[in-house]
Amino acid sequence: MSTLRTEEMTLNMGPQHPSTHGVLRFVIKADGEVMREAIPDVGYLHRSIEKIAEKVGYHGFMPYTDRVDYVCAMFTNQGWGMACEKLANIEVPRRGEYCRVIAAEFNRLASHLLTVGLMGMDIGAMTPFLHALREREMINDLIEELCGARLTFNYMRIGGVAWDLPPGWREKALAYLDHLDPIINEFNSLFSYNKICVERLAKVAPISAEDAINYNLVGPNLRASGVNWDVRKNIPYSVYPEFDFEVPLGSGEWGIVGDAMDRYMMRIREMVQSSRILRQALKRMPEGPVLAKVVRNFKPPAGECQIRVESARGDQGWYVVSDGTAFPWRVHVRTGSFAAMGIIQKLSRGLMIADLVVLIASLDVIAPEIDR
């Protein structure tokens, strides 16, 4: 019997494609619905932020950090602030740290809401996406009141934050958290526990702990593989040691440890933990200044340092080299999405095209963070 002659199909996915979260491109080698390989092609959103840093000075770079990862700009703000503070040995006032934690955790909530919503969108359910965005809007409203912007916050400064909490904001924030907790349960009933969702996500593209570490996955993606690592707990920064919260880990409850469902549930569980941190922070807010005294013409002593911040997309590394002038010599951001993109080619082998979409969404890849 003569065999049927088949041909490998090369598909181009992106850069304009609904589920590539920004502008990513994949060259897919497919055999029908099953992929042989998906080769990522990034760089469509490269804005040379690291080069800009060398030219705008330390204070002036703060608004640019918003653009490194515009979905959770507070963490990039914080990373840059912390790197400069470490270089110049500045201590942030305690109230400033609390403000940072509150803003950052709200931003984590907002970012995770977007991620879980996009997961819904990517597997074909529009409603969870809009429900998540509705909640995100409310957080944006809060953040807007806090710092005047909804997306590119530029809230933090070297040495603290630019604004204290506005009057009455704390009560609003607490009321919002009371509103959010049942909404997360409802979201789970609507989407997370839905049989179709579980079937779509469980057992898709599992990542072993060794692979996760070897490929330098960070944050929720790493924890989903069962590695107990959270910068907030393990290399404590800011005032995180003062809070009581858990680090959720991937359990493989629905399939294999480290599969897409674990990565997805990690975000849901982290939202619950963020809400816990926020409640504690809002209740224990100390009095005092929010901004340390930092000269306008900031010139840290020559040296270099690396800072790690637990952003919504995981451990974000800021490597800053200072030569003692008003401009940083070199700034490098090691972001979670960049590492996550590196593993997609390996994971994509043997997946279906529909699973690639799930894989991208579950790794929570955000294009600006990859390209910077």
């Binding site: 080069k51 040995n89 040296g303 270099e304 451990d315 490597y319 080299v321």
Partner: protein
Amino acid sequence: MEALKIYERVKERFPDKVLEVSEKKPDPFAAVAADAIVAVGRLLHDDPETAMDCLSNQTGVDYKDRIEVVYHLFSYKHHHTCVLKVKLPRENPTVATVEEIWRAANWMEREIFDLLGVNFDGHSDMRRILMPEDWPGYPLRKDFVEPLEYHGISTVRESPILRLDQKKKHEHA
């Protein structure tokens, strides 16, 4: 383990390959000879005392007289970190890849190649990653001059506002 202790361990093993251990604050680093980076990396990765199982960050810095490739290693087992550096000449900088030790190096080395022009020997996929394939030069080098146009597309937007003082200067000139 303290980073400095790790450097001493490496130095015990490769006395002539560790060129410099800096006390430079805030983060100390060890400069390693370019030809020894794979051996040192392998040592740090395999030694159960150090167990540097993660290449947390790899990047390059252009110091005008040299290019340094910086390796931030991290151990999820011991929760310690260390920084290695390799100093390379600016003309045709080449160093062996550590991709075989840490897979994460694949993309990071591509990025360094793309933005700083460092060649990584033995890398499986040495292509540009962020910039277009035909982009001239390496943008993160200090002497990089951005071309005024790329395929006929202007890369500059002239500012529609002009400072009066500059305008005057301009008119004088």
